[in-house]
């Protein structure tokens, strides 16, 4: 049997939806785009086109999605900022999938990212053998995006060294890239833009310069505002993922999702939902994305070692790992939460409480 890809890019995973949207397009399409801004929004926020139901990819804050799309229409670069796990990369992937049908022009920002990776580098064997030529050039995703009039993604831009970040400044203001070795100047085609993401937890690691910031329209993605919204996001994503990963377990019940989201929100915000009790916050991020992966983990546990139904023990194992990340402090915060909050929540919570406590004995 042929092995399947672990994770398909968005444009393949949702090809059907994208095609339906393109087919039904009635509004004007910006140059270099595959569909109108309005259809992009429908693709991301969900809706219906003819008979095809478009699943929502990003839930909550539709206005932010609108601002992001409108930014890309104006040829400005877009910077998505937020806490870890607020769907920055997710949103940027889907935006490029909808606009270009190609979400793979990505540069992953790391401490080791170099200027060449953002502009171009050389195939040194060819360079030495034949001298500089276009054939010997290795074009970066940004380079090809400029040539094709498409959108390139730069993930975790604030993890790159500042001189590497600054390479983007001239690219974004001149909208052309020069290759002095070949006396070549490549102007960007219409439709070129960049979506960058940055993490607020990394603030101060390599702060972005004001000059670079000014070249971006900045959209801050917040953590989900209400419990209902967060539950909705978790539920939708867990459904999608479990199909993909063949988890052989029943989907988590609403009550389970509610418990996980409540615990995450309370620990994240440092107070109980009724705002009556202050809590210690653990060092971990406890993002929505983590809640999703926690539930998928629990499903995997239940599917592989249990009866296919998520049990309190499955969740407890995941919670322990998500909350207690490294230090003793996390462990103290978690134990206090168990005793002071969870224990007092009555019958519905007692199973989970006991399971968590056993792990902390």
């Amino acid at each position: 049997m042929e092995k399947q890809d672990l994770r398909l890019p968005a444009e393949q995973l949702f090809a059907e939806e994208l095609n339906a949207l393109i087919k039904a397009e009635t509004d004007p399409i910006p140059e270099g785009w595959r569909m109108s801004p309005r259809s992009v929004k429908t693709y991301i926020c969900g809706g219906k086109v003819g008979e095809t139901v478009i699943t929502p990819k990003y839930i909550g804050h539709e206005r932010l999605v609108e601002i992001a799309i409108a930014t890309l229409v104006t040829d400005r670069a877009l910077l998505l900022i937020g806490e870890p796990g607020t769907a920055k990369s997710w949103l940027s992937e889907h935006l490029t999938a909808a606009i270009n049908g190609n979400s793979s022009r990505v540069i992953q920002g790391t401490a080791g990212t170099t200027e060449e990776q953002i502009r171009y580098s050389w195939n040194y064997a060819m360079l030495i053998a034949n001298g500089p030529s276009e054939a010997a050039m290795l074009k970066s995703p940004v380079f090809t995006a400029m040539e094709d009039g498409a959108i390139a993604r730069v993930e975790e831009i604030s993890r790159c060294a500042s001189e590497v970040q600054d390479t983007l400044i001239s690219l974004l203001s001149e909208k052309r890239i020069s290759v002095p070795e070949l006396s070549l100047e490549v102007p960007a085609k219409k439709g070129f833009s960049i979506i960058a993401t940055a993490n607020t937890r990394d603030k101060g690691v390599n702060d972005m310069s004001a000059a670079l910031k000014r070249r971006f329209n900045i959209v801050v993605l917040p953590a989900p505002e209400t419990l209902e919204e967060e539950m909705n996001i978790v539920k939708t994503r867990v459904e999608q993922l479990s199909d993909n990963l063949d988890l052989n377990a029943a989907l988590p019940k609403d009550a389970v999702i509610q418990k996980i989201c409540t615990i995450f929100r309370e620990l994240r915000n440092g107070e109980t939902m009724d705002k009556k009790q202050k809590l210690k916050t653990p060092a971990g991020v406890l993002s929505t994305a983590e809640a999703i992966s926690l539930l998928c983990n629990s499903m995997a546990l239940a599917g592989s070692f249990g009866n296919g139904e998520i049990s309190d023990e499955d969740i407890a194992a995941g919670l322990q790992g998500a909350v207690v990340k490294d230090s003793d402090k996390d462990s103290v915060a978690w134990k206090e939460y168990l005793e002071n909050v969870m224990k007092k929540r009555g019958m519905a919570w007692s199973g989970l409480y006991n399971a968590c406590r056993e792990l902390n004995e």
């Binding site: 929004k41 601002i67 910077l79 900022i81 000014r214 329209n217």
Partner: protein, 758 residues
């Protein structure tokens, strides 16, 4: 076709105002009818005067209590205001055609009474609650998220008068169908429309041809007025006796009122739209909005470049296009400013946005126009007290000398400053920002007062609103004091009201407050509360004669409170150390009250002091304090003190209690203590008698007792000790005043963790 021209509007709508003028220019009617209470016509002449500057409002209020009010605010871009101006410029008559305000007030009175009754009955059948409001329905259907944005995007952006007229009429008609059933004010709307139809019919009967009439009304009513021709009987209108007045208004107030017609959230922004329409530049508002935000950002010290403004404008336009709009709405602009200028963070631009959207504009009404009687009274007093020169927006200092000026002949000028003080205090009670009383540098100065006086139109607004309380400043102030008494939470609140009434020179309202105080004093009250109240009253009496008011009515109640305080003091002294601080303050207050007022029985107080001083079962710190007061008042001889000291500090008394007592003793009259050598001998004996563990306990308290002794005082103490120990006083002083070395500091730190419960 009915023939009458209907122009539906929203009450605050720049496009409406602009296109209405165009429409009037085109049709050139003989008569314009405007939806506004018909009895407001008497202020209409003042509204169109050139000196009147919007925003202003017409306020109608009932003369009886409870006061009901209705408010009609107008801005420059109110279509009704522009219609009036147009008529004035073209010498065309206009009529107000809505129900008279007295009927509106009667209806709202009825409704509020009913609501209050319902609340009492607590009927749970509120069917309206579940049905979404018609504006919520629009918000939902339009996908704009709010009906205001929907209106902005559709009607405010109309290209011409026809489009606006048609659109607004359609909008109104649709709202009617959406809200046909279950509207809470359905009856009222029906009555209003019946009345308006009746007024139109009458005008036509009077010979104006229907085609030559333009009716300016909220778009909602257009459908309801179309069949004005049908004869129908006008039901009898309820009325309630009321008054109305023109008053200046501010954009800030306009923005705090929400809801259709009553206000709008961003008056300064709507003014920009109006300006843009005048200039023929539809994008003007967007440009100006973003530029103003950038300018304000720079003003408060943030970077904001023109490039950012340009990018924000492009983003706003592309946001507008995504929704199919021509021009950016306020929401598009604000979001674009947040994204491009505020780095995605609204908090960064919030100050600038508030300034740009709301603005600080305040309206003006020509002098002498439609003043309420309280305004008349205010200006008369201002003139009489020669305060007129202070009515400017520049803040000025005003120093008052409340004493009689003996160098002038007439009594009025002799007490000019005193009367000014009364007047300014009354304004202060009414909450007018006109004059602020500055705490005097001379503490407890009885005859000098210092004020900062500064006139803002906001004060005028507050003044007009005070008209609801009474016809003169004095009456309104006394009503305010009465309200304060009624809402008072504690006795000292009432005492403050008494104090206020004397400061305002209104002994009559003090009378009301005094009887309220008497009633409150009957209930069990804490010692502290009694002391605070008595202290306030004592001040009122002390300063009474400088203010030439008769305070004799206060005396009996103060006596009563004083006596109560003396009786309950000893029992209040059973408390822990935390509470003792407040009690100590209260004891000091009563002591000073007793010293200040001759009319009080000194015996009662001394008796109470002696009781606390001698009892062993009370808080020792307070006992110590009472002993100190007795010493100070010379009610205790040295012999008695010596006995008391040795009793309190003898071996067997727990060290913390003994030291606590000393701490209380040291709270007052230190020189008296220092001068008594015998005291220090006893203290020395006491310390010598302690074993190590007890010494540690005592040390903590004694350190606290001596902590705020000045170094001079410590010197004298050291001298005393030197005398006792037969040492050189200067040497002892050096040791006592020397800073602690690290080792002793560490020892003391260990002591702070000392557990006294063991």
């Amino acid at each position: 076709m009915s023939g009458v021209n209907f122009f539906g509007i929203r009450h605050l709508s720049p496009a409406g105002a602009f296109f209405l003028r165009e429409f009037l220019d085109k049709t050139h009617p003989e008569l314009v009818m405007i939806e506004a209470p018909s009895d407001f016509e008497d202020v209409a002449a003042d509204i169109v005067r050139a000196e009147t500057r919007p925003p202003f409002a017409v306020l109608a209020y009932t003369k009886s209590i409870p006061v009901r009010t209705i408010l009609y605010p107008f801005a420059e871009y109110s279509p009704e205001y522009q219609a009036m101006l147009w008529c004035h410029e073209n010498k065309i008559p206009f009529r107000f055609m809505d129900l008279p305000s007295e009927t509106f007030l009667a209806l709202s009175d009825e409704r509020l009474r009913k609501a209050e009754e319902d609340e009492c009955e607590d009927s749970g059948e509120n069917t309206d609650e579940n049905k979404p409001d018609v504006y919520e329905q629009i918000a939902e259907k339009s996908s704009d998220g709010s009906h205001e944005t929907f209106w902005d995007r559709t009607l405010e952006q109309c290209a011409d008068a026809d489009a606006y007229q048609e659109g607004a009429n359609l909008f109104g008609a649709n709202i009617r169908t959406l809200s046909d059933e279950n509207r809470y004010d359905e009856e009222e709307t029906a009555l209003r429309e019946t009345y308006m139809r009746y007024v139109i019919r009458n005008e036509v009967k009077d010979g104006v041809s229907p085609e030559r009439i333009v009716v300016v009304t909220g778009s909602y009513h257009v459908e309801g007025l179309k069949n004005w021709e049908n004869e129908e009987i006008l039901p009898e209108l309820p009325v309630i006796s009321s008054l109305h007045t023109l008053m200046p208004y501010s954009y800030y107030r306009l923005s705090t009122r929400s809801g259709y017609g009553a206000g709008n959230k961003a008056p300064a922004y709507y003014e920009l739209i109006w300006d843009g329409l005048q200039k023929g530049d539809r994008l003007y508002a967007a440009n100006a909005y973003l530029s103003k935000i950038a300018a304000k950002m720079r003003e408060i010290g943030n970077a904001a470049s023109s490039a950012q403004v340009i990018e924000a404008l492009r983003l706003a336009e592309s946001l507008a296009k995504m929704r199919g709009g021509l021009l950016p709405t306020l929401r598009d602009l604000r979001d674009a400013a947040q994204t491009c200028i505020g780095e995605g963070n609204f908090a960064l631009i919030s100050t600038a946005a508030a300034d740009t959207e709301i603005g600080t504009r305040i309206g003006e009404i020509p002098e002498g126009v439609s003043r309420t009687s309280i305004q008349d009274d205010f200006y008369r007093e201002l003139k009489e007290l020669r305060l007129e020169k202070y009515r400017t927006i520049v803040a000025q200092d005003l120093k008052l000398d409340l004493r009689e000026n003996i160098r002038v002949s007439s009594e009025r000028s002799a007490f000019l400053d005193l009367n000014r003080s009364f007047f300014l205090h009354r304004l202060r009670i009414l909450g007018l920002g006109f004059a602020q009383c500055v705490p005097s540098s001379q503490e407890n100065a009885t005859w000098a007062e210092s004020w900062v006086v500064c006139w803002t139109p906001e004060s005028e607004i507050t003044l007009v609103e005070s008209a609801l309380k009474g016809d003169t400043v004095e009456i309104a102030a006394s009503v305010s004091i009465k309200e304060a008494v009624e809402q008072a939470q504690s006795m000292s609140d009432i005492a403050k009201a008494i104090d206020d009434s004397f400061r305002c020179g209104m002994p009559s309202s003090a009378g009301y407050a005094i009887s309220a105080l008497q009633a409150a004093a009957v209930d069990a009250v804490s010692f502290e509360e009694l002391a605070k109240t008595a202290f306030r009253l004592s001040r009122v009496i002390s300063y009474g004669d400088i203010r030439k008011v008769d305070c004799s009515a206060v005396e009996p109640i103060m006596k009563q409170l004083y006596y109560r305080a003396c009786l309950i003091m000893s029992n209040s002294c059973i408390c822990n150390d935390d509470a003792s601080r407040k009690i100590a303050d209260a004891i000091n207050m009563i002591n000073s009250v007793e010293l200040a007022q001759d009319c009080l029985e000194t015996e009662d107080w001394i008796k109470a002091l002696k009781e606390v001083s001698s009892r062993d079962d009370l808080n020792t710190k307070l006992s110590g304090l009472c002993t100190a007061i007795l010493l100070e008042r010379n009610e205790m001889t040295n012999e008695e003190l010596k006995i008391e000291v040795s009793r309190r500090l003898s071996k067997g008394v727990p060290a913390d209690l003994g030291a606590g007592w000393f701490e209380g003793l040291a709270l007052k009259n230190r020189f008296g203590l220092i001068a008594r050598l015998s005291l220090w001998e006893s203290l020395d004996e006491f310390i010598n008698s302690l074993d190590d563990e007890e010494f540690k306990r005592a040390l903590v308290f004694l350190r606290r007792a001596f902590a705020d002794f000045s170094s001079g005082e410590k010197d004298s103490v050291a001298e005393n000790l030197g005398e006792i120990w037969g040492l050189n006083g200067a040497q002892v002083s050096e040791t006592v005043n020397a800073p602690l070395d690290d080792a002793s500091q560490q020892l003391l730190d260990e002591l702070s963790g000392f557990d006294f419960d063991i």
